[in-house]
């Protein structure tokens, strides 16, 4: 029994007559503290899987078991709590609250959790101690993404889900973000799942899951994942 078990996961979107099988019977499992990269072409169903895993979306069928919890069976309220306590999300477009300073954005997340990490500490951790009182608009994209990661980490979640966190960034900045994520997984023992269609990034993962047309094409275990510092694209 793995930390995360996904079995026969299906997600079907009904667009009138047409059925779009975004995820069509996916099975995989992830261990605790693993850094997983989900790889696949656009429209393959990566985001859908992640959303279902993060409790933002519901599966049409199949099982999603996280730390023994059947996520697919959770009620709306339980899903919120699941998101609240167990999940940290990082988006491609940061999604910071513009009206809050960097620190406040982190606090926004940490204040709702039962055992959050100290917001200031996390800010230090992501290297933004100096900029913590700046508003998102005053920060660069990378810095904003760091704030977003800090916000996710501060909740001290079981899972850190990142949907193309480097998508809007240049490779250098992206690399630093990946470093941060790798560090998080390694030092904090947090399970981190990163979506990307950049196969280079896959090298840093402990496990790479290839998705194609809603199905798993390949699951590759990286015995020796490369340091994020060392990759380049």
């Amino acid at each position: 029994m793995s930390y995360i078990d996904i079995k026969k996961l299906k997600k079907v979107y009904k667009m009138g007559e047409i059925e779009i099988k975004a995820v069509d019977g996916v099975n995989f499992s992830i261990d605790k503290g693993e850094l997983v990269v989900i790889l696949g072409p656009s429209g393959a169903g990566k985001t859908t899987i992640l959303n279902i895993l993060g409790g933002m979306d519901t599966a049409t069928s199949g099982q999603v078991i996280v730390d023994g919890k059947h996520v697919e069976k959770l009620s709306r309220k339980e899903l919120i709590n699941y998101r609240r306590y167990d999940i940290g999300f990082v988006f491609q477009f940061y999604n910071l609250v513009q009206n809050l300073t960097a620190l406040e954005n982190v606090e926004l997340a940490s204040q709702i959790c039962t055992n959050p990490l100290n917001a200031e500490d996390v800010m230090k951790e992501v290297g933004l101690e100096e900029r913590k009182n700046n508003f998102p608009a005053q920060l660069s994209g990378g810095e904003q993404q760091r704030v977003a990661i800090a916000r996710a980490i501060a909740k001290n979640p079981k899972l850190l889900l990142c949907d193309e966190p480097t998508g809007a960034l240049d490779s250098k900045t992206g690399k630093s973000i990946l470093e941060l994520l790798q560090k998080t997984a390694r030092t904090m023992g947090m399970t981190v799942i990163i979506i990307t269609h950049n196969s280079v990034i896959a090298d840093i993962a402990d496990k790479v899951i290839q998705v194609k047309n809603g199905t798993i094409a390949e699951i590759k275990i990286n015995k020796k994942p490369t340091d994020a510092k060392e990759i380049s694209w």
Partner: protein
């Protein structure tokens, strides 16, 4: 090219429609706010126009007079004809009116006119004869039987066969004033013209030709009326002259006729009297003649009797002489007889010389010479003898004495006679001779005696006859005389009567003549008539209606603008937001090569559709519901037909265009300001509104202590300045409207309680049948036996005062007992509740009247009695009062001002709570000692009706403000949500509970709502003041302040709506799909 454009057009329309579908909530909010703003604005705006239109078309339908002419000398058909000849005059109709009492109420009886002032039958039918009348529908019912106390009608016992309303009298409780009864006309009756005793019209109604097409109350109408009035001047002068001459000639003719009649009568009467006199005179003459005749007869008779008497007397005398002679003869005879005896004696003795031969002296001598004895013997004999000769007592010894005596005897007449008849010489025969002489004498005597007896008998007979005759004629005379006497007496009576009649006749005719002279003088004094020209303005209620519509108009100036403003704000907010949101899309279109105006077209179409449809719906609802509701509210005060919507398209189109222009210009402005940018910059996401530190953060020791969510909220509040403004203005507007609504309700409702619980505490007012100086025991008993408690006598009379030439009612009240009255009427200052006292040098007036007149303590105010006489009174105090206006004064001051004693005519009192007021009223009226009884209970009911109606207006305003509040809040929230959807989605992703998300979003709205509501409460006070002063009536003073609970209500209503919206928002937030929200690029 053309096709392409068309194709583009189609595409753009499609795009616009898609947009509407996509953003249907937003579309709806624009739609509703436009509907609400336009509907309310146009609706309320139109209300006063509709009200005026309804009435003016009613007036036009019923051909309401333009002028009412009243002349001091009345009018005739000739006058009507003259006016009809005027080219600028349309209809002319002469008619009558009289005011009279109908069961102690003053009613006005009018003639039923045909063309002008047509009546509307409410119930029943038109009268067929003089016994049937039409009656005021507000007072009477079909079937009522009335007795009209007037001599000027042919038929005074009439029956109501139909009830009507008249365009002349549109007000429910103000029907004008009169000089009789209580001075107020209580209702109208319409009778056929033929029922009036006189043919002379009391008034003439006129309508103008030009005015027919003009609407009542307009300036054009007023101008036309004024023009017509000047045109009429000549005609009126003509009327005056004509009528003046007519009246004079008529009067003169009448006088002449009367004079002639009197003269004729006088002559007749004079002749009558003369005949009476002549008859009397004749009788007098006859009587006098008879009288004379009788007197003559009496005289003759008397004369006759006199003669007869004389004869009788003479006869008696003769008889007496004869008797006397006879007596003498009898005496002589007796002497002879004595002498015979003497002689016989002497002869017997024989020794005596022959005496016969002796002379007397010889005899005497002889005798003397006789011896004493002889003589003595002789004498003794003589003495002893039965002689009738008296023998003296003489001393027979005295010879001398005897001799004297004898000489006397011998010388005596009888001795002489004897000596003559007897021949003494013949001694033998001497005795015989003697004897013969006596015998002769005896026979002679017997004859005489017989003769005397015979004569005496005759005389007696004669006397008896005379006496009888005399007696007979005397009684006849007495009878005649008596007859004459009565004749005279009758004559005297006749004369007396004649004299009295004559005197009477004189006086009577003198009176008649003075009367005629007076009449002549009066006719000479007749002045040219005054013709008073009255216009519609003088009709009761005509102007009031206008001012009521003005009041509505006043209200419609504030409230709707508020609505429109808020609506415009909402539109602005919504549209600009939409354009902002669409900037990416616009960039795409632009980069695809679409022209600015083509892109603009979508938004214009969007705004147009929302505005036009919103306007149409708003106009449809607003312009029908609002005028109807408000008209119905006012209609309780008026007797009018149902509301006729004028559909003032100008206002409607104006409002729509205004709204359209506002929305469109907002849309265009924002859209153009976006389209100014290059497609590239548009395609780049617009930098989100920057976070900023708020002022409070600088005070870090406070800021640090603040709760996190509060910090967020604070920051959010200040994030969008526009939204703060929008929200506060919108909410404040709604709260202000709501508060004004509640306040209006308070102001209206409050006065009832205040007026009837704290100020006027009596339960009944009773108008007495005549005036009293004090309430006597009898009257008191009558009242108390009929359910009245603690009556106190007052004087109350209706007076007028003027506000800008408009007459307004005020009641003058003089208490007979100030302390008793104070139990029933509280006189105090409104603000400090300090009691107000009476004084003998001024009056206490009610506050509203003081406001109306702008009068303060110490000022003089002018009041008028029903005869328009003017009085100046000094204001000494101003007292709290809400309904009607009163002037309170002491009897001393009353006497000073009015120069007469107070005639207390009314009683105010409590009532027996166990009795039904109808019973009390009926039993009191049955005593015939009171004219009228009214109860506070009834008045309260009336007031409550009025207040209910006003409350309905308030409710309308409340509902509209609530709707507005709703739409504004909805709109703000919707915008807030769409604006911050990513933020919200982020929160959801972070695991915020639904409640937390809602709170996060709504907390700021709530704070802004509270702020707005507070501002609104403040604004509401002013709005309320404005509404109160423009809605207030002259005789009512609304409570000026708003009850504190209303602030709470207004506040809570706003909060409640905010909460309702928050619930709605909560679900909307809950439904937000975070994935979708986050998927799109901002």
């Amino acid at each position: 090219m053309q096709r392409k454009l068309v194709g583009n057009m189609k595409l753009l329309i499609k795009e616009a429609l898609r947009k509407i579908k996509l953003t249907f909530g937003r579309f709806l909010s624009v739609f509703f706010i436009v509907a609400l703003g336009v509907g309310f604005f146009a609706g309320i705006r139109n209300t006063s126009d509709d009200m005026l239109f309804t009435v003016s078309s009613y007036f036009a339908d019923k051909n309401l007079m333009d002028f009412r002419l009243v002349s001091t000398l009345g009018f005739t058909d000739a006058d009507v004809e003259i006016l009809k000849q005027m080219p600028s005059i349309n209809d002319v109709e002469g008619s009558h009116y009289i005011d009279c009492l109908e069961s102690s109420k003053a009613v006005r009886i009018l003639g039923i006119t045909n063309k002008i002032n047509q009546l509307t039958l409410v119930d029943g039918r038109n009268p067929k004869n003089n016994k049937e009348v039409l009656a005021d529908a507000t007072v009477y019912e079909v079937g009522d039987e009335l007795t009209l106390n007037t001599p000027e009608l042919k038929e005074t016992k009439v029956k109501v066969v139909g009830t009507v309303k008249s365009p002349m009298y549109i007000q429910f409780n103000n029907k004008g004033t009169t000089l009789i009864g209580n001075g107020k006309i209580s209702g109208f009756l319409y009778t056929l013209e033929s029922n009036f005793s006189t043919n002379v019209y009391t008034l003439i109604y006129l309508t103008g030709k030009d005015t027919a097409s003009l609407r009542a109350y307009t300036q054009e109408y007023q101008a036309s009326i004024e023009k017509l009035e000047t045109k009429m001047t000549d005609a009126l002068d003509q009327l005056k002259m004509r009528r003046y001459n007519e009246i004079k000639t008529e009067a003169r003719q009448k006088i002449e006729d009367a004079k002639q009649k009197i003269e004729e009568e006088k002559e007749k009467y004079r002749i009558e009297l003369e005949t009476v006199k002549n008859n009397l005179d004749q009788t007098n003459k006859k009587l006098q003649k008879t009288d004379k005749e009788i007197n003559e007869k009496e005289y003759a008779l008397n004369q006759e009797f006199k003669q007869a008497n004389q004869e009788l007397l003479l006869a008696k005398k003769t008889l007496a002489q004869k008797t006397a002679e006879y007596q003498k003869n009898v005496e002589k005879y007796n002497q002879y007889k004595a002498y015979l005896e003497c002689v016989e004696y002497i002869y017997a003795y024989d020794h005596f010389p022959d005496l016969s031969k002796m002379t007397d002296e010889e005899i005497v001598f002889y005798l003397l010479n006789l011896s004493e004895e002889d003589i003595h013997q002789f004498l003794e004999y003589m003495q002893q003898g039965d002689f009738s000769i008296e023998l003296p007592e003489i001393d027979y010894n005295d010879k001398e004495a005897v001799k004297t005596y004898l000489e006397t005897v011998f010388n005596s007449e009888i001795m002489q006679e004897i000596r003559k008849n007897i021949d003494f010489t013949n001694k033998e025969d001497l005795l015989k001779q003697f004897q013969k002489l006596v015998k002769d004498m005896e026979i002679k005597l017997d004859n005489a005696k017989e003769e005397i007896a015979k004569a005496s008998n005759l005389l007696q007979e004669k006397e008896q006859f005379l006496n009888k005759k005399k007696k007979e004629s005397q009684s006849a005379l007495v009878k005649y005389k008596k007859e004459i006497e009565t004749g005279y007496k009758q004559l005297e009576d006749g004369y007396r009567e004649y004299e009295i009649n004559y005197e009477k006749f004189e006086i009577q005719f003198k009176d008649a003549y003075t009367k005629i002279n007076q009449q002549i003088k009066q006719v000479d004094e007749i002045e040219k008539p005054n013709i008073y020209v009255f216009t519609r303005k003088d009709n009761a209620g005509y102007e009031e209606y206008k001012s009521d519509t003005t009041r509505v108009n006043n209200i419609s100036k504030v409230f709707p603008i508020f609505f429109l403003l808020v609506a415009a704000l909402v539109c602005l907010n919504t549209m600009s937001r939409m354009v902002e949101e669409d900037r990416g899309q616009m960039g795409i279109y632009k980069s695809l090569g679409l022209k600015n105006r083509q892109i603009l077209f979508t938004y214009i179409l969007y705004a147009t559709v929302a505005t036009i449809f919103g306007s149409i719906i708003g106009l449809l609802l607003g312009c029908t519901i609002l005028p109807n509701v408000i008209y119905n509210i006012y209609s309780f005060m008026y007797v009018l037909p149902n509301l006729k919507l004028e559909n003032n398209f100008f206002t409607m189109i104006f409002t729509t265009i205004l709204m359209f222009v506002v929305t469109l210009s907002i849309t265009m402005y924002t859209a153009l300001s976006v389209l100014k940018n290059t497609p590239a910059s548009l395609l780049r996401p617009k930098a989100p509104a920057k976070g900023k530190k708020v002022l409070i953060e600088k005070i870090s020791f406070i800021w640090k202590r603040l709760n996190f969510s509060f910090k967020v909220t604070t920051r959010n509040i200040f994030r969008y300045k526009k939204r703060i403004f929008m929200t506060i203005v919108g909410i404040a507007g709604c709260t202000a409207l709501t508060l004004a609504g509640f306040g209006l309700k308070d102001s209206i409702t409050g006065i009832i309680k205040k007026q009837f619980n704290t100020i006027t505490k009596y339960k009944a007012t009773i108008v007495l049948d005549h005036s009293y100086q004090e309430l006597d025991k009898d009257m008191k008993e009558v009242l108390e036996n009929n359910g009245i408690t603690n009556p106190t006598l007052i004087y109350q009379e209706l007076y007028n005062y003027k506000i800008k030439d408009k007459n307004n009612d005020v009641y003058l009240v003089v208490p007979s007992n100030i302390n008793e009255m104070k139990q029933y009427i509280t006189l105090q200052h409104r603000k400090d509740k300090e009691k107000v006292d009476f004084s003998d040098d001024g009056v206490i007036i009610t506050e509203k009247m003081a406001l109306n007149l702008n009068a303060g303590i110490g000022d003089f105010i002018t009041i008028y009695d029903t005869n328009k006489k003017e009085y100046q009174v000094k204001v000494k105090e101003i007292t709290e009062n809400y309904a009607y206006n009163y002037i309170y004064l002491t009897n001393t001051y009353y006497e000073k001002i009015f120069d007469q004693k107070v005639n207390y005519n009314m009683v105010i009192s409590g009532i027996d709570e166990n009795k039904n007021i109808d019973q009390i009223s009926e039993s009191l009226l049955n005593t015939n000692k009171v004219l009228n009884v009214s109860f506070i209970e009834d008045i309260l009911e009336k007031f409550n009706d009025m207040i209910n109606n006003l409350n309905k207006i308030v409710l309308v305003i409340l509902i509209c403000s609530c709707l507005l509040a709703f739409v504004v809040l909805y709109n703000l929230t919707t915008i807030n949500i769409t604006e911050r959807i990513r933020e919200i989605a982020t929160l959801k992703v972070l695991g915020f509970h639904d409640k937390e998300v809602s709170l996060y979003v709504y907390r700021e709205t709530m704070i802004l709502t509270i702020l707005g509501a507070l501002v609104g409460l403040f604004l509401g006070i002013f709005l309320h003041q404005f509404v109160i002063t423009s809605a207030e009536m002259e005789f009512i003073m609304f409570q000026r302040n708003i009850n504190s609970i209303s602030y709470v209500y207004a506040f809570l209503v706003t909060i409640l709506f905010s909460l309702i919206i928050s619930v709605f928002t909560h679900y909307k937030l809950k439904k937000i799909n975070m994935i979708e929200a986050l998927k799109s690029v901002e």
